[in-house]
Structures are given as structure tokens and as C-alpha cells.
């Protein structure tokens, strides 16, 4: 049932050219070079250190690696991270 709903949503989004992050509860990630990364629509902080930031998403997790991380702001669904970002990785939920 859930999968079916997802598929419908994806279809509607593609056909009607609606913004994907709104329709499908996906994170919107904005990066400014290597120094800033701005993540909206996350579901909470899982791990934070100066080399790694792990965020919970609706589906899966987002892993950001780099150096000298500073969490500039933390709001309910937004995070602004500063530092030297090396990589951004999506991790699928294990077991799905």
C-alpha cells in the first residue's frame, strides 16, 4: 500500500512538474562549494562530530563527511553546516 502511494506520488510529480521535495518529503540539500551545506526536510540528528554528520531522513539517512564541522544553525527541519565538506552520501535503510 505504502509503495503504491509512493509510486502515485512520483507519477504525479513527474507528470505535473511539481517540486519533488514538497510532494515526496525528500530532503533539499543546498551546497555552496565545499564550505556550506544546507539541508531542509530532515528528520533529526543522528550523529555529529567534527568529521561526520549523520541525519535521519524519511527514507534512509544522509551522511556528510569532511573536516572542521560547525553546526551553524539547527531548526526543526533545517540544518546549516559549515566546514570543509568532502562527501555527501545517501544510506539506504538497512533491511529494506
Amino acid at each position: 500500500m505504502r509503495k503504491f502511494r509512493q509510486q502515485i506520488k512520483r507519477w504525479v510529480t513527474q507528470k505535473m512538474e511539481l517540486p519533488a521535495d514538497v510532494m515526496m518529503d525528500l530532503p533539499r540539500v543546498t551546497m555552496i562549494g565545499q564550505i556550506h551545506i544546507y539541508i531542509e526536510n530532515h528528520r533529526g540528528l543522528l550523529q555529529f562530530s567534527d568529521k561526520e554528520l549523520r541525519l535521519l531522513l524519511k527514507q534512509g539517512q544522509l551522511l556528510i563527511k569532511g573536516e572542521q564541522f560547525v553546526l551553524k544553525t539547527m531548526l526543526p527541519e533545517e540544518i546549516l553546516l559549515e566546514g570543509k565538506i568532502a562527501q555527501v552520501t545517501y544510506l539506504d535503510e538497512p533491511g529494506k
Binding site: L45, F48, S49, D50, L71, T73, M74, P76, L80
Partner: protein, 395 residues
Amino acid sequence: MKNQWTNYFSGYVQIKVTGKLIEPFLNNCVRQKVVIWNLTRQGSTTVTGYLLLEDIHKLRKIIRKSDCKLEFIGRKGFPFLVKRMISNSGFIIGIVAALVITLLLSNMVWKIEVTGANPKLEHDIRKELSQMGIKRGKLHFSVPNNEDIQSELMERLPSISWVGVRLNGTSYHFEVVEKKVVEEPKLLSPRHLIAKKKAVIYDYFIEQGQPMIKVNDFVKPGQLLVSGIIGKEGKTEIIPAKGKVFGEIWYKSHIIVPLETSFNVFTGENVTKYSLSLFKVTIPIWGFDKIQYLQYKIENIEKQIKFLKWDLPIVYRKQVIREEEEHIRKYDKQTAISIAKKTARNDLKAKIGEEAVIKGENVLHQAIDNGKVKLMIHYQVIEDIASPQPIVQGD
């Protein structure tokens, strides 16, 4: 995102959170809408960040539920600055005192310069000034204004003919013009002496020249009195005539003295009010009493307050309110007449000069009419009527 610099005014603290489960704690913070910014990991179990002063009690509630320990490691912003200022009050007192002292010193007399006077007169002027309250170290408020100083100085020191008073910042400049004793020029040009006024010759004293008149002669204005041409015919010499010719002159003066005069006099009662005007808004400082006088006159004394060389938009104002009273002066007939005579005599004396002598006076006519005494007085005055007339030498 919130503007960072406004945080400065509400104040913020730097916090240090120690514990194993920091991330759940941070998530809780976000859920409770406690904003923490500039979070950095310090070690495996510590995180530091900044927090608004007003969110501290919210954070305390959250931290109690978690396993983390909270520490405050820094205080920043305006409220803490104020606190520090209060604890270091000596510093603030110093700043305020410095400002006050500068303000006071800017409104003080620092220098009195006198130019154009000889040392003795300068000494006298300085003495008079210090008597009037103009001394080094006096505040400008307590000093009379320039016009008053000027008239006062000219009144007190008869040997100056003019004094210019200028207040330049904190120093007074007095520019003095001394009265010069007019010396008669040694070398007189050849001249006659002629009559100034219509008179009867009373007496004469000729130093040089040929008198052309005798005692009891009647002279008209412009008539030759003493000739500057002396010597026998053919051997004449032209010299400057010098001397005095006293003539008897008749003056008639009319004078009217009202029997009743009303005028306003000060009763001596007064109220002084002080106020400061700031941008034309007047703030009273002292003297809040209502004025209960029926008639009064207000005297305003205003002083501009200066800071270093600038005029501040603050004016110090002293208001003296003096009570007035209508006073009616009544004379009976005799006193009115005697006062009329006296005033007439004084008027005449002022008109004829110091050397003249009033020889006699006669009341010609006297009437009381409409509450006024009218007098017509005749005076016989003896005065010098000679005035020089240069001899124009032809060819």
C-alpha cells in the same frame, strides 16, 4: 534564519554539553524550539555551542531529562556588558567624571587678556574685573554678560573711553581705548577770538591779543572780541589771540512738574527660577513656585553650555522675576515749585558746561493748571563766550 547581531542585545552564553547521548539531546532541543548555534564537537563526549540568554531555563528542563551535563563557559552580549560595567563601576565613574570635568572646564574663564592699556590701567581693569566676579576659574554662568561688563567697566574707570569685551571660547579679550588728555597744541595758528553767543561782557582776561571790547558792552554772535593783530599801524604783527571773555547771558527755561506722578517701582520681592533648555525644550531645575505678584518684570539671563569648542544645544537660563508696584508720588505746591526750580537748574548746568556760573535766577511766571505746576525761570549766567577764528592770511 535569525539575524545574528540582534542576539548581542538580548545576550547569549556559550555552553558546553558533556555526555554520551548528545545527539538525542540536540534533537530534543530542536523540538522544544531552543536554538543552539555554532555547535562544534570538542571531543568524543563534548560539544560546545551558543545559546540565547532567554532560552536557558528551557534548556535546563531538557537537560534534566537527558544524561548530559551542562556547563556555561562564556557570557556575551549587552546584558553582561552592563553587569561588568556595574561591577567595574570605577571605570564608568571615571568616564562620566572626565566628561563632567571637560564640560565644566569648557565653561570656565581661563584667560583674561587686556590689550591697549598701559600697565597701571591694566592692573586697575583686572582689579575691577575680579571685583565684578570675572576671574580665572569662574564659570560662565556666574559672569555677567558682555554688554554689562562693558558698561560697568566704563562706568567704574573714567580713564578709559571705550572698552571692547569679547568672549572667545574660554578666554576674555578686553580691548581698551584710553582716554588721552587733550593737550593744547603748543603752536597755535594766528587767530581772533569772536563771540559765540549774544551776551553782555562781564569780565575778560586776555593773555595775548588786542581786546576790542569793554566791560558792559553788548556783543552779538560772531562779533570780534579779541583781535590777533597787534602793534601800531604799519608795524602790525599777527599772533594767536588767547584769553577768556566772560559774558552775561540770559537763559529762559520753561518747566512743567506734575503734582501727581505714577510710576512702577520694584518692591524688592523677587523669585529666581533656573532652567535648562534642551533643543528648545525647557526643563525647570529650581524654582517651581507660582508667581503671585500682580505686576512683575521678568529678566532673562541665558548662557550657552559648551563642550570643548562646540556649543551644545543646551542653554542654561536664569529667570529673575521681580515684583513691581505702582507708586503715586504727590507734591504740594511748594515742593513742586522747589523741585521744578532744582530740575531746571540742573538742566541748565548740564547745558552750559562746568566753567559757567549761574549768577541769578528769577521766576517770571508761575501757574498751576491741570494738576501741573508750570514755571518760567530766567537765569543770568556768566560764561566764557570766546571762540577762536583763524586769521586767513591773504597773499
